[in-house]
Symmetry: C2
Subunit: 149 residues, 2 copies
Amino acid sequence: MTDEPRSGPERKADVLAKLNAPVADAWVATADGDPYLVPLTLAWFGERVLLATASKSPTGRNLTRSGRARIALGDTRDVVLIDAVLDETIPVGESGAAGEAYAEQNDWDPRTAGSGYVFLALRPERIRAWRNESEISGSLVMRDGVWLV
Amino acid sequence: MTDEPRSGPERKADVLAKLNAPVADAWVATADGDPYLVPLTLAWFGERVLLATASKSPTGRNLTRSGRARIALGDTRDVVLIDAVLDETIPVGESGAAGEAYAEQNDWDPRTAGSGYVFLALRPERIRAWRNESEISGSLVMRDGVWLV
């Protein structure tokens, strides 16, 4: 890994590559007062992050109540951090193109998981991307839902 | 990766290996109502997780207020999840053996980072470890601060 910081457009391209990667696993933090954190596989469709979970899982309940998640992609030395808001909760049986896109990108199909499952469609508001100390400055690539680069 | 689930003692050994690894990075989730999540390097000393951060960072403030964190080690297909409570906040200048242990295990020394930095010593209460679907059952290796295996 070089110490040369990536440009903003390079970082945006790397963020999108991670969001579009096959079987893109993420750490999803939500809160109900106490912090909750769990790994989930996401898809990227229509400028939204799609998560799939049981609607009664802690992540499902927390998001339904608070509407907010913080999502980490990559590893701790190649970080993408996304603050996102819940845009829509879609029962798997009514998920149309979104469910199609999720199953296409990933190694499991939540539409076969039963009626308690939902897609949570989250809209990114703020995204930071950095690899090392030299990249902390310039790490903000999206603010208020708008790409800065 | 095999589908053969690890035994409880194997999982405990793997958890301790991750906690004791050189430069052990973790995802640390805290909350102040909204979820917060950031990568931090930890040390394992005296049965406690040591984090180092500025006392005024979001993680420092959230932990001081709520006393709770959820920490993920490993990656999304080799998961260790630790629910932990803040046991002690130690200014870096008064950290003695704890500071020594942190600097020894890691690639930076928070004691040189200035007086605003603290070690947050967290006591694990609940730990789960799993790699795949077949390991979800039996993933609980610590409950109420006591190793179950």
